[in-house]
């Protein structure tokens, strides 16, 4: 059987001479591609390295891993995992939406904190009409988060300072400002704890049936994720955003208002972060507790998940679920097997490093290939 000569391309619709590969070979090929894909290798590699660390510090992996799974998925714990999944998925969108346009939003913490404090302030101080009592703080929080992230847009488009820098720099003072508001103007008087008073009942997010931690935030964020996935692949706006992220000059040349899109995606990402802040504040324990939004590290976990999904939006929710299980399970593992939960953070960190290394290697290889 003659293989096509190197460099020749097959005409549209044509088959290479000699026929296609047999079905068995095709299944093997798929299996190979899945096993060798970046996410699988990253997770596998991270688990192998973590196991080595466990062995090195004298922890039995055969006890630790089941403890991790129980900690995340066992009856009573699954609720915690889902409760953590919601903000992490929201923060993943806050990072992923601008990333599709090529902008890095690392300021999720600040956008989330401002969103949360806005929701708390409105819930506490505006008279609430039943029915819209929940909607108004949520919307205001999204707007506030969007504005904070949107600050980076003119810095990026007019002054050329990368969003990855400005979002991060704006985040710290934003978190500090929220912290100040919670301690003083909005703080609960006389307790000495940095938190707001409990929010009025009308503004509490309704819990899902049979749960005390999972609220309507879950269906809301799932719905918004589906909307984003649709917009990304099936709308003109999504196409223009992707084109801008792939090649800014190309998009500009095609008549896309790239600067406006950069601003829109940054603000959109910030809106999701602000919304997450509100979902946390309007959920149990129904108040803004200083540090409670940023301490669990949703932002970082979300960034790791999006990077793990390697530019496949549909993979983002799954990557978020996986890392949330690791995160929550890690605490169970600490309780049960005495393994420090920091170990799961090591896994996460390793996943990011491995993904980054792969991306770089691939990029270099592509460049070398093009140069050949």
């Amino acid at each position: 059987m003659t293989a096509p000569a190197p460099g020749t391309t097959v005409a549209p619709g044509g088959q290479p001479p000699g026929g296609g590969p047999e079905p068995g070979g095709r299944v093997l090929g798929w299996a190979r591609r899945i096993v060798l894909s970046t996410p699988v290798l990253a997770i596998g590699g991270a688990l192998v390295l973590t196991t080595l660390v466990m062995l090195a510090v004298g922890v039995d992996p055969s006890l630790a891993y089941p403890a991790l799974l129980r900690g995340a998925l066992a009856d009573g714990n699954l609720e915690y995992t889902i409760a953590a999944f919601v903000p992490t998925l929201g923060m993943a969108l806050a990072f992923a939406i601008p990333l599709r346009a090529g902008e890095f939003n690392l300021g999720g913490d600040g956008q989330m904190a401002i969103g949360g404090v806005t929701a708390a302030a409105i819930a506490l101080h505006l008279p609430m009409v039943a029915g819209v009592a929940v909607v108004l703080p949520l919307a205001a929080a999204a707007l506030a988060g969007g504005l904070v992230a949107g600050l980076s847009a003119p810095l990026r488009t007019r002054l050329g300072i990368p969003a990855i820098v400005t979002t991060l720099l704006i985040s710290t003072p934003a978190v500090a400002f929220a912290s100040y508001l919670v301690r003083f103007p909005l703080g609960e008087q006389g307790t000495g704890i940095a938190q707001t008073p409990p929010l009025p009942d009308a503004t509490h997010l309704p819990a899902l049936a049979g749960s005390s931690y999972v609220t309507i935030g879950l269906p809301l964020i799932v719905l918004l994720t589906v909307a984003w996935l649709y917009a990304d692949s099936r709308t003109v706006l999504g196409y223009e955003i992707r084109a801008t992220g792939q090649n800014r000059d190309f998009a500009r040349y095609g008549g896309v208002a790239v600067n406006r899109l950069a601003a829109v995606t940054l603000a959109g990402g910030g809106a999701f972060a602000g919304l997450v802040g509100a979902l946390i504040v309007l959920g149990p324990p129904y108040r803004y507790v200083d540090g409670a939004l940023t301490a669990p590290g949703y932002t970082f976990t979300a960034v790791a998940a999006v990077l793990l999904a390697t530019a496949r939006p549909i993979a983002v929710p799954f990557a978020v679920a996986l890392l949330t299980v690791l995160q929550v399970g890690g605490q169970g593992m600490e309780r049960e097997a005495g393994v420090p939960s920091q170990l799961t953070q090591i896994v996460q960190g390793l996943i990011i490093v491995i993904v980054a290394v792969f991306a770089t290697v691939r990029h270099l290889r592509a460049r070398r290939g093009a140069g050949a």
Partner: protein, 542 residues
């Protein structure tokens, strides 16, 4: 080294590649290539893009290790693990993109990496002397104290050659050396190369310009799809024979003929009036440019790279309309061009990877760009029908005979010629009144070149106004009804397609005073004195 007679067939070749095979993944870039370069000869290597020329040179320069085969130097087998090994064996390479430090002087660049040392410090005087001596010997004059960044391209290339010679190169590899030069500079380069080979050194010249091969080379090796398909002595060889070996068939003899009828109307479809544009630093990039393109006419723009072509095209396409400090007008018919990207103008950019495509997006999505908001068909007000996008792409693939496995493959996986055809398909299929094309056939093989020229001629014959910018004078002459020559941001000459000879164009491109023959352009910029002094100091009136 004076023992061996130069060019004598009985002596061992200066450098020889034997059975070199190199594979990149599924691509067999070099397939058992034999190539011998005799002492004192200029040996040209030609082939289409992707024929394996660059890979072969990389093997010889130690950048790639061959999967099979080996390299001989003066008949002895050598191992090349890196360019450092190659340099140690007397091989030197001048890359297409120069690898010089613009902040350093000529002398510093030349001795870099092998500096003469005097009491532990770099001996600057010795470096200067070395550069002067080498320059004297090979006729490669360059001021050792000049800062490289201030020198014109032709002189920078000389510095690269000096650097290789300083390191003791006896086999010089030049990769597409004339692609950045004016015709005058190119002639000068070949004189220098003759001097170099006169001392017994050898030159390997990688190029795709057949006229150069025939005038400057001694022997030619033709590559096609990684194999040697022809070896010729340039004496007694014709360009047609070379082309046949390069593409495996003879070229169609007709080509896109210029129309005898001329433009259909007198009114301009595209008109530029007294356009002056400055860059961010306030440096003038265009000064008082005026011209027009009529429907049914191809107007060519010639000029050394950086003479204002890019700025002119950005202004004409609306990507960068004149700002507040600029003056002048760009008119499409009667209306000024729209900012951003005017839908009345089709634009095929020079840089396929930079502007023309997003290499990781699919062919279908690349073919959509620019039309995504056009009402009707694939797009609603918000939604985008993927089926319609793909159907449209399949139609374009068929009509423009683009070879691709499917419309869903990333456009980066297509060959250069097919990617360029895709860009042309996207732009030409819009049937806009005005078409602007930069470097229509850059990086495209000879077969596809023919097809692309035909497409542009067809657009012209349909009554579209076509503006073509190209660094290939032969291409401009074959395509254009009129040719404008730019120099330092001005249109300095205009010729009709019939009277524009390469020497006339080449002369005008260097800013030398020329007689403008066609009537349309204002002629008062031709004798521009600043232009002439710049050229005089830069050193090489051909």
């Amino acid at each position: 080294m004076s023992v061996t007679a130069t060019g004598d067939g009985s002596a061992a070749p200066a450098a020889e590649l034997v059975g070199v095979t190199k594979r990149f993944g599924p691509v067999l870039a070099n397939d058992g290539i034999d190539l011998a370069v005799a002492r004192g000869e200029i040996h040209a290597v030609v082939g289409e893009n992707g024929a394996g020329k660059s890979t072969l040179m990389s093997v010889l320069y130690g950048l790639h290790r061959p999967d099979a085969g080996h390299v001989l130097r003066d008949g002895k087998r050598i191992r090349l693990r890196s360019p450092a090994d190659a340099i140690a064996h007397g091989l030197g390479m001048v890359h297409q993109r120069f690898r010089l430090f613009p902040e350093l002087t000529v002398a510093e660049n030349v001795v870099l990496g092998a500096e003469p040392v005097h009491r532990g410090a770099v001996d600057r005087a010795a470096a200067r002397r070395a550069v002067e001596e080498l320059g004297e010997r090979y006729g490669l004059r360059a001021d050792p104290a000049a800062q490289v960044g201030t020198l014109p391209v032709g002189v920078r290339q000389r510095v690269e050659i000096l650097r290789a010679l300083y390191r003791g190169a006896e086999v010089l590899i030049l990769d597409e050396p004339t692609s950045v030069l004016t015709p005058g500079e190119a002639t000068r380069l070949f004189e220098v190369l003759r001097t170099v080979t006169g001392t017994g050194a050898s030159v390997l010249l990688v190029t795709h310009k057949l006229s150069e091969v025939l005038t400057a080379g001694d022997r030619v090796t033709v590559l096609r799809q990684g194999r040697v398909t022809g070896r010729f002595d340039t004496a007694g060889t014709t360009a047609a024979e070379l082309v046949q070996a390069m593409i495996g068939r003879a070229l169609g003899s007709t080509g896109p003929a210029r129309p005898t009828t001329g433009p259909r109307e007198e009114a301009y479809a595209l008109e530029v009036r007294d356009l002056s544009v400055s860059d961010r630093d306030g440096v003038a990039r265009l000064s008082g440019v005026s011209f027009g393109v009529r429907p049914g006419e191809i107007v060519g723009i010639a000029g050394v790279a950086g003479s204002g072509q890019r700025e002119l095209i950005d202004a004409v396409t609306g990507l960068n309309v004149p700002g507040q400090h600029d003056s002048g007008q760009v008119l499409l018919g009667d209306a000024p061009v729209r900012r951003g990207r005017d839908p009345e103008v089709a634009y095929v950019p020079e840089d396929r990877h930079g502007r023309g495509t997003a290499s990781e997006m699919s062919l279908a999505e690349n073919l959509l760009m620019g039309d995504q908001r056009r009402p009707g068909g694939h797009a609603g007000r918000i939604g985008l029908s993927r089926a319609a996008v793909r159907a449209r792409a399949r139609d374009l693939v068929e009509r423009f005979s683009i070879s691709a496995a499917s419309v869903d493959v990333p456009i980066g996986a297509l060959s250069g010629g097919n990617a360029q055809k895709a860009v042309l398909a996207r732009e030409l299929s819009r049937r806009t009144p005005v078409i602007v094309v930069e470097e229509p056939t850059q990086g495209v093989d000879v077969g596809a070149q023919e097809r692309i020229h035909t497409l542009l001629a067809e657009a012209r014959d349909r009554g579209q106004a076509v503006l073509v910018q190209s660094s290939e004078l032969s291409e401009l002459r074959a395509l254009s009804d009129r040719i404008l020559v730019m120099f330092e941001g001005r249109v300095v000459a205009e010729y009709s397609g019939d009277e524009a000879t390469e020497s006339l164009l080449g002369q005008a491109m260097t800013g030398a005073p020329v007689k403008t023959t066609a009537g349309d352009t204002t002629g008062d910029t031709t004798g521009d004195t600043t232009g002439n002094t710049t050229v005089a100091t830069s050193g090489d009136p051909a």
